[in-house]
């Protein structure tokens, strides 16, 4: 079966971000960018399914600026067979992402779409569930285990109280949580190989999709800073502070 995976280019999660002084957004110029960690887990899952013989072809999709080609090359170095970049410099909000990916799904006809559960920049956690809705497919969000069983998949989802098990009909959209797998590191030979894999570039217009944002960002601010704390010398001093100063115990 064919699997489609989506990869988003984001600011490296270990970089301390800087809010622009004019409140228009977050500084992205000259900041280290990388593949969204949950998308890495999605690619890894697809590659493992291919290695296990369940999957025959992996198509990686990204939406954004020209540099997203690098993110797609990384996905191909991990094991994706080809890449599609829907190129735009506009802000693409989750509903628009879902519409773009739906247009590609209509063309490519995969059996499963695997996406990260959330991107660590916007923290929306929406696109996968939205795509499932637009396609009328079943969904498994925040997934930590996938077993394909014929025309269905047995999945385990991470929920607030623990774990939930579902059997979902295929085709389906699956979003990944942290415990699904540990993504591999890409090797130099695989990076070289990835350079030769096909990468197609499209414009959103060509897909007939309106990506105009529905949410207008009025301003972006830094959160209020916490006041400086104090170091306590020992446990007795800590207990005294909590009882007499903070009065929380």
């Amino acid at each position: 079966m064919k699997v489609l995976v989506t990869v988003k280019r984001v600011i490296d999660p270990y970089v301390k971000i800087r809010v622009k002084s004019d409140g228009s957004g977050v500084e992205t110029a000259n900041v280290k960018m990388t593949m969204n960690p949950f998308c890495e887990i999605a690619v890894e899952q697809a590659v493992r399914m291919k290695e296990a013989g369940t999957v025959t072809e992996i198509v990686a999709v990204s939406i954004g600026v020209t540099q997203c080609q690098e993110t797609l090359r990384t996905a191909m170095a991990m094991g994706a067979d080809r890449g599609i970049l829907v190129e735009t410099t506009e802000e693409v909000q989750p509903l628009a992402v879902a519409k773009v990916v739906k247009a590609i799904v209509d063309k490519e006809q995969p059996k499963i779409v695997i996406m990260g559960k959330q991107a660590i920049d916007d923290d929306s956690n929406q696109a996968g569930q939205m795509l499932a809705a637009l396609l009328g497919w079943s969904q498994s969000a925040s997934t930590s285990k996938i077993e394909i069983a014929g025309e269905a998949a047995d999945v385990t989802r991470e929920i607030d109280g623990g774990l939930e098990r579902l059997s979902i009909k295929l085709p389906a959209v699956i979003t990944t949580d942290l415990r699904l797998n540990e993504p591999r590191y890409v090797t130099l030979p695989n990076i070289m190989k990835a350079k030769k894999k096909p990468l197609e570039t499209l414009k959103p217009d060509a897909l007939g999709v309106d990506i105009k944002p529905r949410l207008k960002t009025l301003k972006v601010e830094e959160p209020p800073k916490r006041g400086a704390g104090v170091k306590v010398e020992d446990v007795a001093a800590l207990v005294a502070k909590l009882k007499n100063e903070a009065k929380v115990i």
Partner: protein, 308 residues
């Protein structure tokens, strides 16, 4: 204006966070209706009817709503959405699963995880692990919103809303509920606890978490963990506090053996008082702590438990 709150419950009670969501809905303006769907959930509907500010409760029961599946719930809510200006749910795993599905069916761009209601169409939401607060304005006719429960005080009791039956929608047959494995604990729920004691990689093993549990029991606290502790298998996934885990804001948060990665801070830095215990004097967690103690946790934690 009229707001529909989609309730998360266990059949008998509302989940923590729902009353906070109802309070947030109150700030959006208009009458509040609460939708309780599930398989045998009359008691939860009765609980919703008692929440202050609720005008009406809709109860929709069917076996195919067991486990609150996004596909069938999405279909049900789509059918009644036109009567409301706002559809709201807590930004828990339930809300994250169901609400985007509803939003897309209505061709609406959802607003996730709001921490403030500025006006009926303008909201504040944390992005970048809480390091940037974005104020966003929606141009959609219906606003689909999930609410960060810790940012709103819970609505009280005192309501007496009528409970009306809403006929169940179709079973789309896309997903079959097979069961849940829930962590059993006598301790308070992490998201609702007044005190949280969390352990990180420094705990070293699942066995060692017992010393944190002893401290938690002395304080009547919930036990949480950093991602590192969950990934190492010390505790189950539902213990995780952080950007992609649970967001908590208790009166007292005690971080033990947690270095303080950005992703962890995102889940707890709105706590009122933060205590950090770590033997590394350079641990980043100290930057957000009100009180910090540089000491070996295996000595400090039992001593703290004994002194309380």
């Amino acid at each position: 204006m009229s707001v529909l709150v989609i309730a998360e419950h266990d059949g008998k009670q509302l989940k923590p966070g729902v009353t906070n969501t109802i309070a947030a809905a109150g700030k959006m303006g208009g009458e509040i209706t609460v939708l309780v769907t599930g398989h045998q959930c009359k008691e939860a509907a009765a609980a919703a009817a008692k929440v202050e500010g609720v005008k009406k409760v809709l109860l929709s029961e069917a076996p195919h709503y067991e486990g609150l599946p996004a596909e069938n719930l999405g279909d049900l809510v789509k059918g009644i959405a036109a009567q409301y200006t706002h559809l709201v749910a807590p930004a828990t795993n339930f809300g994250k699963n169901v609400m985007p599905r509803i939003a897309a069916l209505l061709d609406v761009q959802q607003i996730s995880d709001i921490s403030s209601v500025e006006s009926p169409d303008t909201f504040v939401r944390p992005t970048y692990a809480g390091n940037a607060l974005a104020t966003v304005q929606s141009s959609d006719k219906i606003k689909v919103v999930t609410v960060r429960a810790t940012a709103f005080d819970a609505a009280g009791e005192g309501g007496a809303a009528p409970v009306e039956n809403l006929p169940a929608g179709a079973d789309l047959g896309l997903a079959k509920f097979k069961g849940q494995e829930l962590s059993k604990s006598e301790r308070p729920e992490l998201a609702a606890a007044r005190i949280v004691v969390s352990g990180g990689r420094g705990m070293g093993s699942a066995e060692n978490f017992k010393i944190l549990e002893a401290l938690a029991d002395k304080l009547g606290a919930a036990v949480g963990a950093s991602r590192a502790a969950v990934d190492s298998g010390f505790v189950p996934n539902d213990y995780q506090v952080g950007q992609t885990g649970k967001i908590v804001a208790p009166e007292l948060y005690i971080a033990v053996g947690i270095s303080g990665a950005i992703q962890h801070l995102a889940g707890m830095k709105d706590s009122k008082v933060i205590v950090a215990i770590n033997k590394d004097p350079e641990a980043p967690i100290f930057a957000v702590a009100n009180y910090w103690l540089v000491e070996d946790l295996f000595k400090a934690v039992p001593e703290l438990t004994a002194k309380l």
